[in-house]
């Protein structure tokens, strides 16, 4: 007897091209990278984890690792502080202006990173627009050097990464019924306590998603550090770039890349678990 198969729009076989593509251009390079991170020259000694041990124990590299984490954490935190109010405003008050705000939020992503970054240099430089205004208004007497400073890196990073935060939180806030906030208000909660006890806990998913995204993306950026940091901020991804382009220490660069990869995977694992926990809800 023929089994009647339920009608499905998509068939599992449709996934084959995607899987093949990912296999060739994603999985195989990753495995190759894993192999590459072993020292080629057995004479160095220290076994297959030589580069990893070096990365974690050498004070300089451990410092870079620490700085990478610091930059990612600060950027994530600033993005959250900047992004949450924007997302909240969009969902609760913007109404028909919503589309315009979405465009403004996404605009930095549509600009080439080189243009965007040099734009910031123009604004922040010693003879830049910002300094010119501050001088004109008499707020400062001597121009500040703002480019080639850590602050410039943070500004550049937040500028390009805040959309991910805004859109993640926006999506979750949209699902929160305003009437829940109204209910809290009638029950005696002021605006702040309504936010703290109702809106914030209900938007935790969006916050987590946004934070993980921004954290992982910060870890992966190096152009912003390169072009705006003036050598004052060295993160793992910048170091990888330098290892490749100057010292050509491919093995070490591969090891660092794998560490970054691990962090990214951990981030997505965390997010996955968060979603699964939520999935219990009908």
């Amino acid at each position: 007897m023929r089994r009647v198969r339920p009608y499905r729009l998509a068939r599992p076989s449709w996934c084959v091209p995607v899987i093949a593509y990912l296999l060739v251009f994603f999985v195989i390079p990753l495995i190759a990278n894993l192999l590459r991170s072993r020292p080629v020259d057995a004479a160095i000694g220290g076994g297959p984890f030589f580069y990893y041990v070096k990365l974690l124990t050498d004070p300089y590299y451990a410092g870079v690792l620490l700085e990478t984490t610091k930059v990612a954490l600060i950027t994530t935190f600033v993005c959250l502080l900047v992004g949450y109010p924007v997302a909240y405003f969009m969902v609760r008050f913007a109404g028909r202006w919503n589309a315009l705000i979405v465009f403004c939020v996404v605009a930095p992503l549509l600009t080439s990173i080189i243009m965007r970054t040099f734009g910031w240099r123009v604004l922040l430089a010693r003879r830049g627009v910002l300094n010119a205004w501050l001088l004109d208004w008499g707020l400062i007497t001597r121009p500040f050097e703002l480019a080639d400073q850590p602050i410039a890196v943070y500004i550049g990073l937040v500028h390009v990464l805040v959309p991910f935060m805004v859109l993640s939180i926006n999506a979750v806030l949209q699902g929160i019924d305003v009437q829940l906030e109204d209910s809290a208000r009638v029950l005696g909660a002021g605006r702040l306590r309504t936010f703290w006890h109702v809106t914030l806990p209900l938007s935790v998913d969006g916050i987590a998603t946004g934070c993980i995204l921004v954290f992982v993306l910060t870890n992966g950026s190096f152009l912003t550090m390169l072009l705006l940091g003036g050598g004052r901020i060295t993160t793992l991804s910048l170091l990888i770039y330098q290892q490749f382009s100057t010292t050509q220490d491919v093995g070490f660069a591969a090891a660092m890349g794998n560490v970054l990869m691990l962090v990214a995977l951990l981030g997505f694992l965390l997010q996955f678990r968060l979603l699964r926990r939520r999935g219990v809800k009908p």
Partner: protein
């Protein structure tokens, strides 16, 4: 069980529990509420009844403080609250879709208002137990919201609103999302709890049956205006306008002319459609012979009989058994709209039979508007 409101409900203050004085509201240039006057009687359940979009929810949101009125003032328990935010008004509210906090347990939901008032832990737990007992969901403290059925969620929403002993309970279509059987059960239960606690309540609904069965008084609204306020029997039997008459149930509307007095507060009328058909109406206001009037007669007030002199001649079009009564659809010559008559027993008339319709003097009312 005796659970009396305490705290928030300050019954010693003079004045109505809720009083709206000339409150009006516009959204974007459209007047949604015309200047509205409404005063509640302590302990009553007032139904705000009207078709969808007539401004019921807006009225409730003005009282709750989510919207600010353009004109007029709102007093709660004798205190002017017009400028106060919702959290300072001491009211309780139940929303149509329950609006329970999904990230909290049942107990935490019920305790939310008490927590906002910084009630002590022991008192809070006692009060939550008490409220859960009131809505007959004892021991549900640790359940999660999504584990509850619609009816249970409704009751938890009620318990949450009552936990802080609000001076007034606002109910915005509280049973709208429940299926018919459950809704009828909940109507009785809600009414019972409201009576037991003696809490002044406003029930918003577009369901006339719900308004009539549950409330002490009904305020009929249309197009942002309160058309008539009165006891359910009063608005049902003595509607002032055609709209009220038709919104509360089926009504047969006849244009007629007064022919003369016919006893105290009684007048004889002749129908425009059938001048030979005579009827009697009661009217507290004096009528002049020759005056044109519009009559409303409820279908259950019409009796079917043989087409004798003085009755309204009509032809039976259809009979439908509606469970507790038979509904006759008839056409009366000269009357463009069909006429409906409800009877308890099936009448010995066939389809297309000619019948005579008549009513007792109290069965017809004179409407204020013209036909």
């Amino acid at each position: 069980m005796s659970v009396r409101p305490h705290g928030g409900g300050n019954n010693t203050t003079a004045g109505a529990p809720v009083e709206l004085a000339d409150v009006s509201k516009s959204f974007g240039g459209v007047q949604v509420l015309k200047p509205l006057r409404l005063a509640l009687v302590p302990g009553e359940m007032l139904a705000l009844l009207g078709p969808s979009g007539c401004g019921k929810t807006t009225t409730l949101r003005l009282i709750a403080g989510f919207e600010a009125p353009d004109t007029g003032s709102i007093r709660v328990a004798g205190r002017d609250v017009t400028g106060l935010p919702p959290n300072k008004r001491g009211l309780g509210m139940v929303f149509q879709n329950y609006s329970l906090f999904p990230h909290m347990t049942v107990g935490e939901n019920v305790a939310f208002g008490l927590r906002m008032r910084r009630t002590g832990r022991a008192e809070k737990a006692r009060r939550v137990r008490e409220m859960l007992a009131t809505v007959r969901l004892d021991g549900y403290e640790d359940r999660l919201i999504h584990q509850l059925s619609g009816g249970q969620q409704q009751r938890i929403a009620l318990a949450r609103a009552l936990a802080t002993s609000p001076s007034v309970l606002l109910l915005d279509e509280p049973l709208g999302a429940l299926d018919k059987n459950l809704r009828e059960r909940m109507q009785f239960e809600l009414r019972d709890i409201q009576r037991r606690l003696g809490i002044t309540s406003i029930l918003v609904t577009h369901d006339q049956e719900e308004a009539l069965t549950m409330s002490d008084r009904v305020a009929v609204m249309a197009h942002g205006e309160v058309l008539q306020v009165g006891r359910p029997t009063e608005v049902y039997d003595r509607p002032l306008t055609r709209f009220v008459s038709e919104f509360l149930g089926t009504a047969n509307i006849f244009a007629a002319v007064v022919t003369g007095a016919n006893g105290p507060n009684r007048w004889s009328v002749a129908l425009d459609a059938q001048p030979h058909a005579a009827g009697t109406v009661e009217s507290p206001a004096a009528l002049a012979p020759g005056q044109r009037v519009t009559l409303a007669v409820r279908p259950e007030r019409l009796s079917l009989g043989p087409p004798t002199d003085g009755t309204v001649r009509a032809t039976v079009r259809d009979v439908v058994f509606r469970g507790t009564y038979f509904a006759y659809e008839l056409t009366a010559s000269g009357q463009p709209q069909p006429v409906f008559a409800y009877t308890q027993l099936r009448q010995p008339v066939a389809a297309d039979a000619a019948v005579g319709l008549s009513w007792e003097p109290g069965g017809a009312v004179i409407l204020q508007d013209t036909a």
